[in-house]
Amino acid sequence: MPVITVENLSKTFRTRVRSEGLGASLRALIRPEWRTVQAVREVSFSVEEGEVVAFLGPNGAGKSTTIKMLTGILTPDSGGARVLGLEPSRDRTRLAMGIGAVFGQKSQLWFHLPPSDSFRLLGAIYEIPAPELARRRAELVERFGIGPYMDVPVRKLSLGERIRCEIAASLLHAPRVLFLDEPTIGLDVVVKREIRALLADLRAREGVTIFLTSHDIGDIEKICKRAIIIHHGAVVVDESMKTLKHRALARKYIGVKYAAPADLELPGLAPVKRTEDAASFVVDTRKHNLQEVIRALVDRGEVLDLTVEDEPLEDIIAEVFRGRSEEEARGAARAGGEAES
């Protein structure tokens, strides 16, 4: 059963623009100029209970705006969304009981107080009976390993410690859907790995539906089963991670290192990087036979090392964005040409 359904969701913002200089500032007082930005355009998708979905896109693609509409913060201009059967902008407070939200750049913990005080307040806000709150708190403290930080003022915690406390706090009321907006932003590799493990564990233990936006491909590869890619406010890809990764099969990254300098010129295939005794190739398997390329490389000299890797997910997603932008540019040029003629 879907817990999130989104149909033709759109949101437009009107932003005041000011040109440079004092004259422009004075003109803006009398005649302000506004720019309309279509942040989200006719986005549709649905998410099943227990799914872990990556919601991806470059900066300004409309990811956070969509999450804000799904959590009831923003009201859509048109289209509709239902989360846990409720309309977020109308049933904000009722919906809040069933969802959790972590915005990586905004804290829900009181800065000058230890997390234990914020937990107590959240327990009261979510109307969790005292014994249940104590049990749930103890469980989360243990699972997230935040015992040593519970009585330290938040301002004295490191970013990684704070984010662990933030996610634990957002789970206090056992939400059925968890929205995470850039949860690992600014974290080091070790802490990122810990957070991902905690999220995977959460999904396994409680069946929580996780809707995650991130710029970090590692987050997506490790915990998500499905990816929705949004570009210029519209959904351009909505497929399983498996299918998305299959796109990687079309291209292989080959690295080779020889014992001595070797001739690395292959017919129709130039190395993307090379030294006297090493080179990297990107092989499009639709044009070149992988086995023949490897055989040709092995024949060039004594091989010390040879690696064959799939195309990184980051590159696949970048390719999707690039392809979409070029398509849009071509469309705009066509429209311009038709208008001129």
Binding site: F13, R16, A39, G60, G62, K63, S64, T65, T66, K68, T71, G72, I73, L74, T75, L84, G85, L86, S89, D91, R92, T93, R94, L95, A96, M97, G98, I99, A101, F103, Q105, K106, Q108, W110, F111, H112, L113, D117, S118, R120, L121, A124, I125, Y126, E127, I128, P129, E132, R135, R136, P153, H173, A174, P175, R176, E206
Partner: protein, 278 residues
């Protein structure tokens, strides 16, 4: 999974749950305020300095005069002490609300199951009441030293003063909240707050309403401004049970009207929330 989440989204709606919710918000906010006890020192020092300077001004003004507009020197010292308590203790809600609006924090607060205005109210009132308590203790001490005996003598009179101060605090909150929420439409609304502060200052905070020219004084009574400081100060220094009841009733009516205004402004502006990023 904890039991209540199995029932799906929904609130109990019980008054005890609301009391716990908003009570805890007030207490946690108070704790946060008390994390830096030195923060009290600033307002204590400024308040003390104001009371001292004005007690000297009244001493000079009243030399050779028994009373002005029905107030003698002792009354004026105590008037200023009481009138400044809500001005100092409750007068700065706008700044934190406006900051939440400008930083976009207001949007993130909407993901919680509480009444937005009620939550802000409890969060603002908790520390403000602590500020007022500390200021009142300082004010009583200064009043006894600089003015004379405390003018109220019975428990009923004391309770009326406390109630009037509380209503003044609530009215301050709702009016400042409504001004802060105009940011939904106007990017910079600090000018409105500046005007609000000045109107409150001349309509009873700085001087009793009776000091204003007749027409101005009569007109001011039809606005909420005298009920921010003049009403509690008047109850403290010129006790009359009938007048006190009327003042408390007027304060309650203005507070209710301001609360409704807040609800309306928030409901009208909520759809205009835009959040940075995305």
């Amino acid at each position: 999974m904890i039991a209540h989440s199995l029932k799906g989204p929904g609130r109990t709606g019980k008054p005890s749950a609301a009391l716990r919710k908003y009570g805890t918000a007030g207490l946690v906010s108070l704790q946060s305020r008390m994390a830096y006890p030195a923060a009290f020192a600033g307002s204590l020092l400024t308040y003390g300095l104001f009371v001292f300077v004005f007690s000297r001004i009244w001493a000079a003004l009243y030399s050779g005069r028994a009373e002005i507009a029905g107030y003698d020197r002792t009354m004026m010292v105590w008037y200023f002490i009481v009138a400044e308590i809500p001005a100092f203790g409750f007068g700065r809600f706008y700044y934190s609300l406006a900051e939440d609006m400008k930083s976009g924090q207001v949007a993130y607060l909407l993901t919680r199951p509480y009444g937005f205005t009620a939550y802000h109210f409890s969060q603002a009132l908790g520390p403000a009441l602590a500020d007022c308590l500390v200021l009142a203790l300082e004010g009583i001490l200064l009043g006894l030293l600089l003015g004379g005996p405390f003018p109220l003598t019975t428990l009923t009179q004391g309770a009326a003063l406390v109630l009037s101060l509380l209503l003044a605090g609530c009215l301050q909150f709702f009016l400042q909240f409504a001004i802060a929420m105009t940011a939904f439409w106007i990017e910079e609304n600090a000018a409105f707050f500046w005007i609000y502060q000045k109107l409150a200052l001349i309509a009873g905070t700085f001087l009793p309403l009776e000091f204003l020219p007749g027409a101005a004084s009569a007109a001011a009574r039809w606005t909420p401004f005298p009920y921010l400081s003049w009403a509690p100060a008047r109850i403290a220094v010129a006790w009359d049970s009938r007048e006190a009841l009327l003042l408390l009733a007027a304060q309650a009516a203005w507070t209710a009207a301001a609360a409704l205004l807040c609800r309306a402004v928030f409901a009208a502006g909520r759809g205009k929330i835009t959040a940075n990023g995305g």
